[in-house]
Amino acid sequence: MKIVGHKLSFLENIYLFEIVRGLVITTRHFFYNMFFHIAHLLGYQQDVEAAVTIQYPEQTIPVSKRWRGVHRINTRPDGSPRCVACMLCETVCPVQCIHIVAEEHPDPAIEKYPVSFEVDVTRCCWCGMCEEACPVDAIYMDSGKIPKAGYSRQDLVYDKETLTKEVPLPGYQRSLNPPGAGAPKVNPMGL
């Protein structure tokens, strides 16, 4: 084994000059940033950043075109969810955060529809498996949104209405079918 040691020189050993060097750097940053903070306050130099902070949620950074955000339930032309309550997403979800209650649909060609469709985003691990499992392209993760903080757990369980209202991010590579597009009725068995 080779031990690589750094022998401190005398000047480094008495710390003082190294400390002063460090202090010069931090002081420079302090006064530089302070100057622009004050300038911003007075309405000048708005184009020079005084801090790298992104003030989420008021400010966000653009997300990648393939990034998985909050789920969206796609709709048929009549506005009803495309989901046929096949339970594939609920089954495939590794953390079991999707809860669907299925009901018989009046239209025999559709067979089933979800009475309630809940995604518990506190548990979701954003793996995107639900999206891949869905045979009718009903669930997408293309809203490009990060879930907002909530004051209770129930605030973070998104129901069918919320998920249906989500819109896809424009130009998003995940959106093969925008809301309201595609076949009016989808028979999962292809019949």
Binding site: L23, I25, T27, H29, H37, A51, V52
Partner: protein, 361 residues
């Protein structure tokens, strides 16, 4: 008699009101200053009716949070000592301000009011004594917590504080030699002289090496980074692990008050106290040329303001150091204290002695 008591009470209210407020604001300044130094914005979310005021409400939010927290005393701990320790920390830090002069003697309505709460003739020794008393709060906190890690932390803290106390006290000897007094008021007054007729004879001019030693040792006494081994919340466990709620806040405030105390003592000993260069009781003057007389009250106000500004500057500077330097390793800490600062302090005493003797002779 009654008036004297009232005046003393007023001075106490002024000094402690100021110190406690600065300590509260330091909690905010620490966050904001570190943020600005690191190109961040810092805590700014606490608001009252949408008014954020650069996060100035965060200290208030902190206090509310801390007061409503459970005050937990370890079941196996010593209830009395556990409660006593944080208040001892606050008390020893605050007591130092009793002897720090914050202005020239005020002549008002035929009275001479020295602008210091207690003009003790032991002066600087009182400061050092109360600095050492601070160890009790540390040791008692660790001992009464019934937690071996707290106890080890308090041992570490005590060892550090005791080690640096030697260098601290020795570096002060140089100042005592330079001004021939241990009384802080005398020391501040003596710094109104000028060398070569133009340079203010401040402690930092008379004792540049002593100032560096004092400042380093005093930083170690405040137990903050780079000397924050007693606390170091991120890896080794410190002595106030078993403290919660208001008592934890007391330690926290005690630390900030210590910062202000160190700033005050450094100002008094090395940066002219309340002296403003070229302003004295006669007014503004350029040595040997002319004098513009100023009213006495204005001069005193300028001097008190100057003292407060100097203290604020050193508070800022100590925060700057705290956010610049990484923490020492424990052996480095001990080595720095015993093998570097202490011999240097001795050297400073001897050198100062030789220099002052040769100038007098």
């Amino acid at each position: 008699m009654f008036i004297d008591v009232a005046i003393t009470l007023l001075k106490i209210a002024f000094v402690f009101g100021l110190v406690l407020n600065i300590a509260g604001i330091l909690g905010w300044a620490e966050r904001k200053q570190s943020a600005v130094m690191q190109d961040r914005i810092g805590a700014n979310r606490a608001d009252i009716l949408g008014l954020r005021l650069f996060g100035l409400f965060h200290p208030i939010a902190d206090i509310v949070k801390v007061i409503t927290k459970e005050d937990w005393i370890p079941p196996g701990g010593d209830k009395f000592l556990h409660t006593l320790a944080p208040f001892l920390a606050l008390f020893t830090a605050l007591a130092v301000f009793a002897v720090i002069p914050f202005g020239d003697t005020l002549h008002i309505a035929g009275r001479d009011i020295p602008l210091v709460i207690a003009d003790l003739n032991v002066g600087i020794l009182f400061v050092i004594a109360f600095g050492s008393l601070g160890i009790y709060s540390v040791v008692l906190a660790g001992w009464s917590s019934d937690n071996k890690y707290s106890l080890l932390g308090s041992m570490r803290a005590a060892a550090q504080v005791i080690s640096y106390e030697l260098a601290l006290a020795l570096s002060v000897v140089g100042v005592i030699m330079a001004y021939g007094s241990v009384e802080l008021d005398d020391i501040a007054r003596a710094q109104g002289q000028y060398v070569l007729g133009i340079i203010p004879y401040w402690g930092v001019i008379a004792q540049p090496l002593g100032f560096l030693i004092f400042f380093a040792a005093a930083m170690a006494e405040t137990k903050r980074t780079p000397f924050d081994l007693p606390e170091c919340e991120s890896e080794i466990i410190g002595y106030f692990t078993e403290y919660s709620g208001f008592k934890f806040l007391a330690f926290w405030m005690g630390e900030f008050i210590e910062v202000i105390a160190v700033a005050g003592v450094v100002t008094t000993l090395y940066f002219g106290g309340w002296q403003v260069p070229f302003i004295d009781s006669q007014g503004f003057f350029v040595p040997g040329l002319f004098t513009i007389p100023l009213p006495h009250l204005l001069v005193v106000v300028i001097q008190v303001t100057a003292f407060i500004l100097k203290v604020c500057f050193f508070c800022w500077f100590m925060l700057l150091v705290r956010w610049t330097l990484p923490r020492f390793r424990y052996d480095q800490l001990m080595g720095f204290g015993w093998k570097f600062l202490l011999p240097l302090a001795f050297l400073n005493v001897i050198l100062s002695g030789v220099i002052f003797m040769s100038f007098e002779g």
